[in-house]
Amino acid sequence: MEPTLLVVQFLNGIQLGTLLFLVASGLTLVFGILDVINLAHGVVYMVGAYAAASTFVRSGSLALAIAIAPVAALLVGLLLDRLVLRFLYDRNHLDQVLATFGVILFVDEAVRAIFGPAALPYPLPPAFEWSLELPGGATYPAWRLVIIVSGLVLAAILFGILHRTRAGMVVRAAATDPGMLAMLGVDIRRLFLVVLGAGSALAGFAGALAGPIVAVQPGMGDSVLILSFVVIVTGGLGSVQGALLGSFLVGLADTLGRSFLTDLLRLLLPPAAANEVGPALASMAIYLVMAIVLLIRPQGLVSLRRAAR
């Protein structure tokens, strides 16, 4: 195994992790503050990608496309709250899952009806059509570097707000013990709307970033949503810090599993058997990581709630 390949695959894992973090951070806060399971979060990611793709194709400006995506996602996120989520705050988790799953089906079909079933074109401008040369002959595509850098910058800003400002302190307090905070006179519902809006904007931004590397088509948010749930359960529900750790863990486990598991198994098994077992095991890798984490720390990597809860 060449060391450069390891470096590239490590970068790939980090890149997948940053995208996941942008989606998972909103999801985990929404759950932490109002105990709401919001399956419709993946739909908001899709809305971001669609907004960016259609803006880019019409205007030719990538900057405009990426600026519009979070705004569209924020509006859709708040609209979903008005239409669906706010009736679910006090309902049980099963009701929330059923209702927001319905939202996924509805929005996926609505997007299909409006934009058609085919994938939208969302090419990269030539300015990003280059790759970073790594020592050892490997290369790394520029756009993936953009994803890593902008994702990490956003994560830093998010942590700055959460840990250095009063508003952030309130959000963290709400995720830890919303009942106590409400008694102290904070309007939890309004706070929730702010967090939902911000989370939606982040997910929409992630959709705009991912658009050029995936297919912008109905249902594109579903696989991201599943991974994001794995991330927030692994990281600890309600914790943004946990979401960050979980994202990188899941991103790396998935990428490194796909890269090296089959090759490693070939050392132990006959090639045909390794080809059977390797891919199956690689697609299970993130769930295995989650299971191991939960076995050791049932509350996830970072736990906010006190033991009493």
Partner: protein, 387 residues
């Protein structure tokens, strides 16, 4: 007034009995979920075929029932039962995906109706489980893969890297490729079905430095793969050959990222024959997009039914005569020729195809050189039918 309505009703009833020989056709494809785009191509092709025949197949008044299989075998079963029992269709046409075709195969065949596949061609149905009630206007699944294997062999690629989703059709596809490719397979990588991030696989390709890559990656994942392959700067360095990945359904989303990539097909929009020129021009005028092989095969399905029913003198209840007429059916196929194998699957010429431009500059897959002439699939020998 009441009298007038009564008379109208009576007339309608009389007309109804006079036209007892109404042809009822069920059209099943995937219209929701990730495969919906393909279903749309398939349906639009069939509808245009019906249109060109004045709405009458074989000269019979035709009622069309469109059903959505949702790419779920259990839903397909329910929908096809409805078509057979409630709508009493004579033909079930369509079907994008092999698992759907396998799910509805027995119910349709055993009901006495005919099943016409306009796309899917799983090996079981081409081989031992073939039926005189089943016909195809497309191909057997392996054929496109084999054509690309032969292309890679003829091009002299010594080391090829293979990539496919980790499910039965993925493994079958790579087997089909290897049937005619005799060089070294550097690595054979199977990805999770539906996965859209190929960064890890692309890094492996870069490290393995093969002469070419062969990928079978249909749908959204295929679009993601081609874009990421392009962004990694590999498109110009290592030729990417693919089946059911770069075609007229994905080309609009791929744009310049697909430039120079190679696939194979028994049909392309620039085939120069009168039937195809009319098909492509009218399709684009009616639906506003470039037809794919899905649309072409479904268009042929309408023409094929028309010719078969005419050959049987429009008699739908004499199943043996109808079967014989379908076997003998001749019509101006958009492929330029039409010939069925003993297993009722067409014998096709396969060309390599690549993104190019039609006469008016619209991007489309265009025909390259011939790879296989009169290519009948490998499973026909296992089919006991002789005629």
């Amino acid at each position: 007034m009441r009298l007038a309505i009564g008379m109208l009703t009576a007339t309608a009833l009389l007309v109804g009995t006079a036209q007892a020989q109404e042809l009822r056709v069920g059209f099943m494809a995937t219209f929701t979920g990730p495969g919906a785009n393909l279903g749309q191509h398939l349906r639009d092709g069939f509808l245009l075929g019906l249109d060109h025949l004045g709405g009458k197949l074989g000269g019979l008044d035709t009622r069309l029932f469109i059903a959505d299989d949702q790419l779920k075998p259990d839903v397909a079963r329910q929908e096809v039962d409805k078509l057979l029992e409630k709508e009493k269709v004579h033909f079930v046409v369509g079907v994008v995906f092999s698992n759907i075709l396998l799910a509805i195969y027995k119910p349709v065949i055993e009901s006495g109706a005919f099943l016409i596949s306009a796309n899917a061609g799983p090996s079981q149905i081409a081989g031992a489980q073939c039926s005189e009630r089943f016909f195809s206007t497309s191909w057997q699944n392996d054929q496109t893969h084999s054509a690309l294997g032969k292309y890679a062999q003829e091009k002299g690629y010594k080391r090829v890297f293979l990539l496919a989703p980790n499910y039965q059709a993925g493994k079958d596809g790579l087997t089909g490729f290897k049937r005619y490719y005799k060089g070294t397979v550097v690595d054979e990588v199977y990805t999770q079905l539906g996965a859209v991030d190929f960064s890890a696989e692309i890094a492996k390709i870069q490290a393995a430095k093969p002469d070419a890559v062969y990928a079978f990656m249909p749908g959204g994942p295929g679009i993601a793969l081609v874009k990421q392959y392009f962004q990694a700067g590999l498109t110009k360095q290592i030729p990417l050959l693919s089946a059911f990945t770069v075609d007229d359904t994905s080309l609009p989303a791929l744009g310049s990222a697909a430039e120079g990539l190679i696939s194979a097909s028994q049909w392309a929009a620039d085939f120069d024959n009168p039937a195809n020129r009319r098909f492509v021009a009218d399709f684009r005028a009616k639906y506003g997009y470039v037809p794919s092989y899905f649309a072409a095969q479904a268009y042929d399905a309408a023409q094929f039914l028309d010719a078969g029913i005419k050959g049987a003198g429009g008699r739908l209840d004499d199943k043996a005569a109808l079967r014989d007429a379908l076997r003998r059916a001749q019509f101006p196929s958009v492929k330029g020729k039409w010939k069925l194998n003993t297993n009722h699957i067409p014998i096709n010429d396969f060309y390599y195809v690549t993104p190019g431009k039609l006469a008016d500059g619209t991007p489309a897959m265009v025909k390259g050189e011939l790879v296989f002439a009169d290519y009948g699939d490998e499973y026909a020998k296992d089919c006991p039918m002789r005629w």
